[in-house]
């Protein structure tokens, strides 16, 4: 695991964080619930809590889908390539590329989806929330904070590397017993063909 330079983190008096969605995206409840599940994964292992609010302009974390240039100097580049980015604490900006095909189903843990032209939204959300909390990229392949995600792959379960990193910054959830809920069996996510493992 790694951190941003200077190890920025949310200050001690801000452990209960709020998040909101850009109202211009008009996201469905189903899409919003994907982010709720992603936040829960980090909530389980830290003393942090995440609450969804409606006021986008004043929330701690702001989530939006955008295409191309969207005001932060880091334009998105269309389908595939870069999928999302997020800022270090306490900025709280979480941007996703609106031109991707996002899969929003929420069953199970890590596994496969059967097409390589789509990206699992929860997988990307869990990764970017790691950045929002202060984690940088990890060289541990398989960790959530590894920089790449193979298309057709679902990766949502925090690894030991991820947990150690975030607990260095915030400590552990008092209710965290050291083992996360076991990931549901790796399974074929869809009943399509052979379950393309991705491009590489």
């Amino acid at each position: 695991y790694s951190f941003f330079p200077g190890e920025p983190r949310w200050p001690r008096n801000r452990r209960d964080l709020t998040y909101a969605f850009d109202p211009r995206n008009a996201l469905t409840e189903e899409v919003k619930s994907v982010f709720s599940r992603a936040f829960t994964r980090w909530e389980e292992v830290t003393p942090l809590t995440f609450t969804r609010v409606e006021r986008f302009s004043t929330s701690d974390i702001s989530i939006g889908f955008y295409s191309g240039e969207h005001g932060d100097g880091e334009p998105f580049d269309g389908p595939m390539r870069t999928l999302a980015h997020a800022f270090s604490p306490p900025t709280g900006h979480f941007h996703l590329d609106g031109e991707e095909n996002w899969i929003v189903s929420g069953e199970g843990g890590d596994g496969f989806i059967s097409v390589s032209e789509a990206v699992d939204l929860e997988s990307v959300a869990v990764h970017e929330i790691g950045h929002l909390l202060g984690l940088g990229h990890s060289s541990v392949e398989g960790s959530i904070m590894y920089p790449t995600i193979r298309t057709g792959r679902r990766k949502v379960d925090l690894t030991t590397d991820d947990v150690e990193g975030v607990q260095y910054l915030y400590g552990a959830n008092p209710n965290f017993n050291g083992s996360r809920s076991p990931p549901p069996s790796t399974q074929q996510r869809d009943t399509g063909d052979s379950g393309a493992p991705g491009r590489s």
Binding site: E74, I103, H137
Partner: protein, 137 residues
Amino acid sequence: GFYTNSSAIPPQLLRNATGNPWNSFLNFTGCHAGKKYDGLYMLKQYFQHFGYITETNLSGNFTDDFDDILKNAVEMYQRNFQLNVTGVLDELTLKHVVIPRCGNPDVVNGTSTMHSGRKTFEVSFAGRGQRFHAVKH
């Protein structure tokens, strides 16, 4: 678009998918330092975007030369992704390069952030007359 599962994606959309434009980087397989390759400047832009080439290097005015700046970037990338550090654009390296990824950089101000884990352990050597104590980060 948002889809509940992959079978919900309209077949037309899948058929029309043009694939990942980064796949063109696979054409650089085998390229190495000291030579010039058409379009290599785009790979330099990729490495600059993710921090492997600093903004001050050439100020983004890249050539197609496989120069030392690119070689250093490739080596750092290979170290970060635990690949064989050859400085050559081998097949495995480029297959990593083209995978869709997070837009946040791996390298900040020329320093890789991917190996800064704080797994700390102590080693003590209690030798005769002298004591060495080391802490490794």
